[in-house]
Amino acid sequence: MKVKVKLFAILRERAGAGEITKEIGEGSTVIELWEALTRDYPKLASAKIHLLYAVNQSYVTPDHVLRDRDEVVFVPPVSGG
């Protein structure tokens, strides 16, 4: 199945991409997707920053199980305001 990953801010810059479509196995979790992504884009993991995880515009836990066509966002520390 396929999911759409959107990258913002420091992650977008590190990956050099704002949107990635990624093929993953049935039953994959959010954290497993992250690990797969960091193999494709090693720079993503270059410095430890605390990430939150969002699926279809809502925060989820790292063990959240993904479904086909989910929109996944790895959220670096927010700093709006």
């Binding site: 410095a47 927010v78 709006g80």
Partner: protein, 143 residues
Amino acid sequence: MFRVTDKALNLQELVDYVTDPQAGAIVTFIGTTRNQNEGRQVLSLDYEAYPEMAEKELKRLGQEAGKRWNIQRMAIVHRVGRVEITEPSVIIAVSAAHRDDAFQACRFAIEEIKKTVPIWKKEVFEGGEVWIGTQSGQRFHQR
């Protein structure tokens, strides 16, 4: 009104939106780009958002404020893109029958924005730029 925009913000538009015959108080918060941060000379700030989710989170926190305090209306608009010194990046407006509710709900909104709303600020300073919050040591920016 909960919106992310790349246009310059208009304070009066938000205040008009929350104006209500049952309100005796309107409190607004305006976040502006200041010319220094942690000893660095700031040139401008560049904001980026995950807009669909940011607007959803703004609405959610507005609903949460409505549960906690007796307010009439709330509006929040956050700008994205380059925001020059003295320009507003975010405006919050809250109306309420009584001022204590308006002050508390407005304060709550800006604190929540800085915790949960997917918007990121890159500081452009003399000699470099940095995504606030992602530096080594998790330096958080307090406005």
